[in-house]
Amino acid sequence: MGILSILLVLFIVAVVAVWLYIVNQGNAELDFMLDQRTDFKLEEMSFNRAVFSCNVPFVNKGKQDGIIMDCFPRHQLPQEQFDAVELASRIELENKRRLDGYFESVIIPTKTGNSLIVTLIFTAKTGDIRQALAGMVDMSVDIIYQVYALSKWYIAKPRMVVKASEFTQALSTGVSEV
């Protein structure tokens, strides 16, 4: 009985030690700072097409490196709400831009960050894009990302709200210099 008790105590101590180790080890913790994003700027403009983009900074606040395995935008502009444009969107890393819509998985070391470029491409269904966007409404864009780190992978989708006035302002400012 004495030996069994000792083994039981040792087992409990080992379990607690492993638990403390894992808690202390921590994990990656990605924070997309939507409240610090820039306003949308006009990147390109033609008669029937306007391309807007904004920067969204993010940081890995956790104690471990993490991987953003995938990241893409989901714009929420149903035709029931606004039917004058076709909308496409994409997300790129600021320091590794690409136009193919593919997000190459990337390691974000602990305590470091980067920035996403969220691009919205509006094409007028008929005629002038300026006229089409005149009746634009506020809309939401979900940033959907998949994290792969020390725990099982997970998907999150924080939402940013884009005011119609941002597009109006960007159109009046004109195409921004890169």
């Binding site: 492993v18 395995m69 593919y102 998985s105 390691i107 020390l150 099982k152």
Partner: protein, 224 residues
């Protein structure tokens, strides 16, 4: 006498629909001579063998979640999915046993025991981000029968020798399959600076030109 020279051969992105021997013939045959050694990146061999899996297809169990916490976060086994992939290939209990024996050995200063006991696949698994798009979102296993692949390359291309190699920019060169007549240690040293380049360079084939001549020269010197 011709000098030893490394020639990296660019290919398209090879996929599970490709045959590595056909790809070698397509991209490198006209560059390969009878005295050359052809080396191929192990991850590309594995991809052409279809030895890839998405983390979403794995369901890491208790042991995978626990043991992965004790591996360097720079390695491929530090994620539950990567660890589960190793367990699926080598057997859960083999990995668990290798872990505990490896840990005990480490306590007395003996390193590397886990990888010796955990099976050939454990050190060869490439985790997410470890390979070029579109395989950057996959776990890539080590190749199956790399020795057989090396021998098949030699036979098909009529070269002096062939090897399947795992080389990275951290000065790690591991030969996982090699034909007779090629010295593994020498080839490791030849490839140590990673002539395969990074993934985006798409050069998974490196031809060691004039290897046979260089060996003959060294042997002749040794006998004088």
């Amino acid at each position: 006498m011709a000098k030893l020279e490394l020639v990296a051969v660019k290919t398209r992105i090879l996929t599970p629909d490709d045959d590595i021997l056909d790809a070698l013939e397509e991209y490198a045959k006209d560059k390969i001579g009878p005295g050359d050694v052809v080396s191929v990146a192990e991850s590309v061999v594995a991809i052409t063998q279809g030895r890839i899996i998405r983390p979403e297809e794995l369901n890491p169990g208790f042991w995978a979640c626990l043991l992965s916490r004790f591996f360097s976060t720079k390695g491929s086994l530090s994620n539950p999915a990567g660890m589960q992939a190793a367990m699926n290939l080598e057997g859960q209990w083999r990995i668990v046993a290798a872990f505990f024996i490896g840990m005990l050995c480490k306590l007395v200063g003996i390193k590397g025991v886990f990888y010796r006991l955990g099976g050939q696949q454990a050190p060869l698994i490439d985790d997410v981000t470890g390979t070029m798009p579109p395989f950057d979102k996959h776990i890539v296993y080590g190749p199956s029968d790399p020795q057989g692949v090396a021998e098949a390359i030699k036979k098909r291309l009529g070269c002096f020798g062939a090897a399947v190699a795992d080389v990275n920019d951290l000065k790690r060169a591991l030969i996982v399959g090699i034909t007779d007549g090629v010295n593994e240690q020498e080839l490791r040293e030849i490839l140590i600076d990673n002539p395969f380049g990074n993934a985006s360079q798409k050069t998974p084939i490196v031809i060691v030109k004039n290897y046979a001549d260089a060996v003959a020269k060294v042997q002749a010197k040794a006998t004088v």
